[in-house]
């Protein structure tokens, strides 16, 4: 793992996502920035994927359940060559397939997601299929913290250990802010580690912006076929990388104006 090149990729993801959101006047840049480092590590060092063959049978599957933060996933897929970078210019524009919630019509994207609480049940299906077919792939599901309010997730959190889905890795982008406020003020998730442990998951806690730590944890979570599903609680900062966006609810919604865009781009450079 080359931390320098992964860090560089994370920066490119943020800049690309910022430009897409700015041009499309769309939302959710805060949640895209909070998971940018995780995506960089996944696509640089962890996922077994091939941009020239997005449907490769034994590829690792990454499901972005927090589909509203799709600008960052589209960005990394473009940067990795799943499609020409120029096509990202159409993001959110009339007639574009690049919807502003993640779309499975884009090469490299496994599922469409927009309504929250859908990714994990589907991920369980993919992981179960790998088990039943004795295939080697790992299924990753990247979720938001606010999304954990959805009951459908807890149906899956109950079931996955029962099925011994040790080929399933859930990553929680725990940026502490959801639609109408801080997570702790809306529905406090704590104690989250103990909740997952009580549900019989193997729990990892990381700083979701420390490249080396992300890599070490995701690699070992992927490798361990020990009969237990894994959940990685990644402590992150909403809007990470741009000081005036960090930890601000506003940037769940706001699209940067020209001045903010230039300022943000300057900081990311």
């Amino acid at each position: 793992m080359d931390a320098k090149s992964t860090t560089y990729l994370a920066g490119e993801i943020r800049k690309t996502a910022l430009s897409m959101v700015y041009e499309a006047k769309s939302s959710h840049i805060g949640g895209a920035f909070s998971m940018a480092d995780i995506l960089a590590v996944l696509y640089e060092d962890v996922l077994h994927v091939d941009p020239s063959e997005p449907k490769m049978v034994d590829r690792d599957r990454l499901l972005l359940s927090k589909g509203h933060a799709c600008s960052a996933l589209y960005a990394v897929l473009g940067l990795k060559g799943f499609f020409p970078m120029e096509s990202l210019a159409s993001y959110g524009q009339d007639g574009s397939s690049f919807l502003t919630h993640i779309s499975h019509y884009i090469p490299g994207v496994e599922i469409s997601a927009g309504s929250l609480g859908h990714g994990l049940p589907i991920a369980c299906g993919l992981a179960l299929a790998a088990k039943r077919k004795a295939r080697p792939w790992t299924t990753f599901c990247l979720m938001s913290d606010g999304e954990l309010d959805e009951g459908s997730n807890w149906e899956s959190f109950l079931l996955a250990p029962q099925l011994g889905l040790d080929n399933l890795v859930v990553i929680i982008d725990y940026n502490k802010i959801q639609s109408l406020g801080f997570v702790k003020d809306v529905i406090d998730l704590e104690p989250l580690i103990q909740k997952f442990e009580a549900f019989k998951w193997e729990v990892f806690t990381i700083d979701g912006h420390e490249i080396q730590e992300i890599y070490t944890t995701l690699s070992s979570a992927k490798a361990a076929r020990n009969g237990v599903p894994k959940v990685v609680i990644a402590h992150t900062v909403k809007g990470k990388g741009v000081d005036f966006m960090e930890n601000k609810l506003l940037w769940h919604y706001k699209s940067p104006n020209a001045t903010e865009y230039q300022q943000a781009l300057g900081q990311l450079d």
Binding site: I111, G114, H118, P121, G125, L128, A129, G151, S152, E155
Partner: protein
């Protein structure tokens, strides 16, 4: 019907290794033979229908032909968004099977009255919506849908219904096929969907009514060419369904009649009389026949033309 379904599914699974059955902790004395025979292609997700539908979508993405099975409203209304978005938007081969359509679980009350789901489901793109009338139709629909590349809904009755005798019993069905049950000289036809068919044929036979009967195992789509022919042939068409009047089978017939008028394919316009539940929940215990009767799901002689009688 549920016996016909599971028997057919087991038969299909013996030759089609893609078939996978997922249940949400219901199906006692029904699903066990499948589970024992194909343990690698069976799963009980527990009492968790949203997870059942989402997980089924995931299995289908990986090449399985998935049947999800539960009773009443649980595999439909309880997980409607997973059906719409995970299964139908991704256009996956997931077959949603509900036992206990209509008032089959009459005494259990409105929680178990599956009387709105046809209307809710038939407006979802990509989804085929079926309501077989008897064990023959249930097996034929199961067989046909197991080969379908996209999603479908199969509303079953309960157990022990007889096979309805009919003028034609094709070995295989086509999607949207309309099945003549009995054709008579009268000016009226009864269009029936789901398990109302036995009541309809019994009523006409017992009263010597010269009306024709057609069974509609598919609420969506329907064979428009045949339907237009029937619109042109009969002066009165009575639709009957164990479902709310709003948005159900009769509504679909009215929509298609209007489409035919708009398309200019009608020579004459039949009168449509709809027998369905009148926008009401019923909170009385009783048999399925009792619930049907208080909900007005009955025929009477006044509905027919003098030449039918």
């Amino acid at each position: 019907m549920r016996t016909a379904f599971i028997t057919e599914l087991i038969r299909l699974a013996e030759v089609d290794e893609k078939i996978f059955l997922v249940v949400a902790d219901l199906g006692f004395s029904v699903v066990e033979p499948f589970a024992e025979k194909f343990p690698d292609r069976y799963l009980n997700v527990g009492i968790a229908e949203q997870n059942m539908a989402g997980l089924a979508a995931g299995l289908a993405m990986e090449g399985y032909s998935v049947f999800i099975y539960s009773i009443g409203n649980f595999p439909t209304l309880r997980c409607m968004e997973q059906i719409r978005y995970d299964i139908c938007y991704h256009n996956l081969p997931v077959r949603i099977v509900a036992v206990g359509g209509g008032y089959a679980y009459a005494s259990l009350g409105p929680s178990h009255h599956a009387t709105e789901e046809l209307g809710m489901l038939r407006i979802i793109p990509n989804l085929i919506v079926s309501a077989p009338a008897d064990p023959y139709e249930a097996a034929a629909v199961t067989r046909l849908m197991s080969r379908h590349s996209g999603p479908c809904y199969i509303r079953l009755g309960k157990a022990g219904e007889p096979v309805i005798s009919r003028v034609e019993q094709p070995a295989e069905l086509r999607v949207g096929q309309i099945l003549p049950i009995v054709t008579r000289e009268g000016a009226t036809a009864v269009f029936s969907t789901g398990s109302m068919l036995k009541y309809v044929t019994d009523f006409l036979n017992e009263n010597g009514i010269q009306a024709s009967v057609y069974s509609f195992p598919f609420v969506k789509p329907m064979d428009k060419e045949v339907l237009t022919e029937l619109f042109n042939r009969y002066r009165t068409i009575i639709t009957i369904e164990e479902h709310q009047r709003n948005g159900g089978f009769g509504s679909a017939i009215l929509e298609l009649l209007h489409d035919a008028i708009e398309a200019g394919t009608l020579i004459k316009e039949p009168t449509i009389k709809r027998i369905a539940i009148n926008d009401t929940f019923y909170s009385k215990a009783g048999s399925q026949d009792y619930l049907r009767s208080i909900a007005g799901l009955t025929l009477n002689l006044d509905l027919f033309k003098t030449e039918d009688l």
